[in-house]
């Protein structure tokens, strides 16, 4: 098992070929997230309302509308350049840093609840830390000898995003077990209530079936909690596991109207699309 984990972390043979795909899909997801953020004026006008009642001891920065919009532009430009394959260290650092400040600011607006998309920040940090321009990049690529360390770091960056994605499901399952307790599954009322009130018409119709709600609750928690260990132990089946995760999200979108697109949109590049040099072991 230790050898297997070491191979997953440091020796994914297709990492250098897969990372350009990951860069483009991750960059696109980040750019879409930035574009869809509320305008700077919205955050500025609620500085003496929403931001004024945050928890005591909160000393978060407050940006003017101009500052927020300028930061947003900087983030768009740097992430955009990185996405198309500009590999300059300053571009990579600016992309990761500016999106961290920007997305962190949006989260801190009301820190008790936010969009649960900080994996984009963590993934961007991992992906910008290594060279992702073996192909799919603009300009002439200078010949770079891939050192052993660089190859291992590329593998590790890819693994960080793969295991980071899987951890989200296991956290969600564990959270329901720890805080919703057994009755979350045995009663099925959370799923029933969510589908009845928040769901699509199809989800609302399904919510009337109590037995189905209980069964789906058990399946959801089991599937979520087992995701990370399943991915590691059945690594050769990761493409299938990722397809299952996408199916889960599509069903959730169909029934509950919640997409979580900023996670599963990365799966074709992270797990599914065959990259040169890849193996299925």
């Amino acid at each position: 098992m230790r050898r297997k984990l070491s191979d997953i972390l440091f020796r994914q043979a297709d990492a250098a070929d897969r990372l350009p795909l990951v860069r483009v899909s991750l960059g696109a997801a980040v750019l879409r997230t930035i574009v869809q953020m509320p305008p700077g004026s919205f955050f500025a006008e609620h500085q003496d309302t929403v931001m004024a009642v945050r928890q005591r001891g909160d000393r978060a920065v407050r940006l003017t509308a101009f500052q927020f919009n300028a930061l947003r532009l900087l983030s768009l430009a740097s992430v955009g350049l990185w996405t198309i394959g500009v590999r300059h260290a300053a571009v990579r650092a600016t992309a990761a840093a500016s999106f961290a400040v920007l997305n962190g600011y949006v989260a801190q607006f009301h820190p008790r609840l936010w969009s649960y998309n900080s994996h984009l920040n963590l993934f961007l940090c991992a992906a910008t830390a290594v060279d992702t321009t073996k192909w799919l990049s603009v300009g002439k690529r200078p010949p770079v000898a891939s050192t052993k360390d660089e190859a291992q770091l590329q593998s590790l960056a890819l693994t960080a995003m793969q295991l980071g994605s899987a951890a989200i499901y296991s956290q969600a399952g564990l959270s329901k077990i720890l805080h919703g307790k057994v009755r979350w599954m045995s009663q099925g009322t959370t799923l029933k209530g969510a589908l009845a009130v928040l769901g699509t018409p199809a989800g609302h119709r399904l919510s009337a079936n109590d037995s189905l709600m209980r069964a789906l609750s058990v399946v959801t928690v089991a599937g979520e909690a087992a995701f990370l260990p399943l991915l590691v132990t059945r690594w050769k089946d990761r493409r299938l596991i990722a397809l299952g995760a996408i199916a889960f999200h599509l069903a959730t979108k169909r029934l509950l109207g919640i997409s979580f697109w900023h996670l599963w949109a990365l799966y074709p590049a992270l797990f599914i699309v065959a990259a040169p040099g890849g193996d299925r072991r």
């Binding site: 869809q36 009642v53 649960y116 956290q171 029933k192 919640i258």
Partner: protein, 171 residues
């Protein structure tokens, strides 16, 4: 991966980075256990509470010119994900006791609805749109109770135990 061959030794820098990855994952699960979000650490605690069959929900009414609308969801009042809008309203109108802040909050909401509408995206609801030339001139926020045994999505009812939390009139 190299099959049966002896694998290359892991370099110091990759080993250090792997330790950081491990620490981040531990940090993520720690936040799940304590059920708290501290950006960028996320507990991923969505839908983790067991809902009873009857539970409270927020609803609003808007004064469109001079006429009050029927009950509506709160989602279309801020350009944020629906669950954040609900929680922000709960914090400002239920947990906060500053009446002046409540009034300022509601007036700010109305001003943006009247001047800078927004489209729906993903979990962000489309902004409520006034039909009267004067725009929205008032906002009433209510707490109601939903019973999943008889709740109908089509007409958002029946809703029980109406309780007005706040009412603001801009004129």
């Amino acid at each position: 991966m190299t099959g049966e061959a002896v694998p290359e030794r892991v370099g110091r820098k990759p080993a250090l980075m792997a330790a950081i990855l491990g620490a981040v994952l531990v940090g993520q699960f720690f936040h799940t256990v304590v059920d708290r979000n501290r950006w960028p650490f996320c507990s991923n605690n969505m839908f983790n509470r067991t809902l009873p069959r009857r539970f409270p929900q927020l609803r609003i009414r808007l004064r469109d010119g001079d006429e009050w609308t029927g009950l509506r969801q709160v989602y279309g009042l801020m350009p944020l994900e629906f669950f954040r809008v609900v929680d922000i309203f709960a914090v400002i109108l239920l947990e906060n006791q500053d009446e002046e802040l409540k009034d300022r909050f509601c007036r700010t909401i109305l001003r943006r609805l009247n001047t800078r509408p927004w489209a729906a995206f993903d979990e962000v609801g489309r902004s409520e749109r006034p039909t009267h030339p004067r725009g929205f001139t008032g906002l009433e926020v209510l707490m109601v109770t939903v019973d999943v045994a008889d709740y109908r999505m089509a007409d958002d009812g029946p809703l029980y135990d109406h309780q007005v939390l706040y009412r603001c009139e801009a004129d």
